[in-house]
């Protein structure tokens, strides 16, 4: 479930990588802008109204499957911003350089943490990672420069 190129050019937007019908619906309650459409059946796949989504990332912290990401291709001239859920220690800090991994666990480049959001008590921490635009659609995991994630590929 990927928004089209036009939508990506308009600013931050959530990407739901939830492609299998499973009984789960916390994302429907997570969005205060009504961008996640109400479920008819708990097994439904989530439906996102891309026009209503402002990429705030609240759903990212609420998804039990850690399957939601936010991409902002308008972050800067040459960099994109990726918001991803992170449930590991040590939690990277603002300013840290991190190694970036794709969905298969292959290291594809580096990024920099620009913010760490830990607002809700039950919410998963959300990392804001600044990275090259061409990496934003592929990177789904980060690790500190030293230690962790040393098993590439």
């Amino acid at each position: 479930m990927m928004p089209d190129e036009e939508r990506l050019k308009q600013g931050p937007v959530a990407i739901f990588e939830c492609l299998q019908e499973i009984p789960c619906d916390p994302c429907a309650d997570a969005c205060q802008f009504g961008a996640v459409l109400a479920f008819q059946d708990i097994n439904d796949l989530p439906q996102l109204d891309y026009d209503a989504c402002n990429g705030c990332g609240n759903c990212v912290s609420r998804c039990p499957g850690l399957a939601i990401f936010v991409i902002d291709m308008t972050w800067s001239e040459d960099k994109a911003l990726l918001k991803l859920p992170y449930e590991l220690l040590p939690l990277p800090q603002k300013g840290d350089e991190v190694r970036c991994f794709d969905r298969e666990g292959t290291e594809v480049g580096q990024g920099r943490i620009v913010r760490v959001v830990q607002s809700l008590r039950v919410g998963t921490p959300v990392l804001w990672v600044e990275l090259d635009k061409e990496l934003a659609l592929d990177v789904r995991h980060v690790a500190p420069l030293s230690g962790g994630g040393e098993r590439d590929g």
């Binding site: 499973i22 009984p23 708990i42 499957g65 991994f101 998963t124 789904r140 994630g149």
Partner: protein, 359 residues
């Protein structure tokens, strides 16, 4: 002899829900569990639950266990005996024999009995499966998530169902390396989102692969893995070794049904439900009028379903004592929850199992 309205065996998600249904309606309820802590397997579940808000989706299992136990403790007529083992059930006079936490034997007569004993882990036969380091997934979770001890340095996970995938992720969260997940079936059985979490952290998942042998002198040092053909036979030419000090078995669960057999319940073999299960009517009633079943003991499912089947069994037991004026309304709500949980493709196996149970 002490008498209670309802005895519940097992203080997991199903048993606690069943007990709450009785306690909320003013009955004497006794919950017995052989563990030292209530919550059953919930106490090991650090991940956020799926399901809907009613089933506490987004809440971690460890917090659900606390919440349910606290709620039960607010009812003065509800009691919880921990570190207590039910040794047997005598259907003729509806009596349970229990070894309590002081290792004394106690007899309890219960008007209604709800069996919520859960399930035990299945084993996998291969040479060396008795080596120290070959552990059940439940044991790995207990060691790591309850006692804060790393099970080892390099773990090979066997089974890519939800338990295998979730425990792999929990190991990574505890900073333990997961060298691989092997799965005998040609497809990952667990949810894709759980698999994605460990894939992006670099853990390979080998489908159509199994363990040929575990090797080591005194303890596990390495595992021999091989690919399976379409008849699930190992292919010699494909075998390779993976160094590991833990081999974690997550190859399915079987309902724990000893007390149901003892009670004389009609038992049915249903592979989709995990093996022998008591016949039940979908609301916990078994073929023995005083005996009800809840949770995995009636068919292996997820914890969210166990909470619902527990509530239904509790309500049915209360109703059978003539004490449940809101039976239709309350069971209606829980049944709808349960049907919704089982409605999608992920619930097809359990639906098929429940269907064949009724044949």
């Amino acid at each position: 002899m002490k008498q209670v309205d309802i005895a519940v065996v097992g203080a997991g998600p199903a048993g606690l829900h069943a007990a709450l249904m009785g306690a909320e309606r003013g009955l004497d309820v006794l919950v017995i569990d052989n563990a030292g802590q209530a919550g059953g397997q919930l106490v090991k579940q650090t991940h956020k639950f799926f399901g809907s808000r009613e089933q506490r989706a987004g809440t971690r299992g460890i917090h659900i266990a606390d919440e349910l136990t606290k709620k039960l403790s607010t009812y003065t007529k509800a009691r919880l005996w921990l570190s207590s083992t039910v040794l047997s059930y005598y259907p003729a006079d509806q009596t349970l024999m229990i070894e309590d936490d002081a290792e004394s034997i106690r007899l309890i007569q219960a008007q209604r009995l709800i069996i919520a004993t859960g399930a035990s882990e299945k084993l996998l036969p291969f040479p060396g499966n008795d080596l120290p380091g070959v552990y059940g997934a439940g044991a790995v979770q207990t060691l790591m998530n309850v006692h804060g001890v790393k099970p080892g340095r390099k773990v090979l996970m066997v089974g890519a169902g939800n338990i295998g995938l979730i425990v792999s992720y929990q190991l990574l969260q505890s900073d333990v390396e997961v060298v691989a997940v092997v799965e005998a079936a040609p497809h990952i059985g667990g949810y894709a989102v759980h698999a994605s979490k460990i894939r992006r952290m670099g853990v390979p998942i080998y489908t159509s692969h199994s363990v040929k042998a575990a090797r080591g002198e005194q303890v596990l040092e390495r595992a021999v893995i091989w690919q399976l053909d379409e008849q699930w036979n190992g292919i010699d030419s494909t075998q390779f070794e993976l160094p590991c000090d833990v081999l974690c078995l997550a190859v399915g669960l079987s309902p724990l049904t000893e007390l149901l057999w003892q009670a004389g319940c009609r038992m049915v073999f249903v592979p989709e439900l995990g093996g022998h299960v008591p016949w039940h009517n979908g609301r916990g009633a078994t073929s023995v009028p005083e005996v009800f079943v809840a949770g995995d003991a009636g068919g292996v499912e997820e914890a969210s379903s166990a909470m619902a089947t527990g509530a239904l069994a509790g309500l049915s037991a209360v109703e059978s004592l003539g004490q449940c004026p809101d039976y239709a309304e309350a069971t209606g709500a829980w049944s709808r929850e349960l049907d919704a949980l089982r409605a999608g493709p992920a619930g097809s196996k359990i639906r098929k199992g429940l269907q064949s149970l009724q044949l």
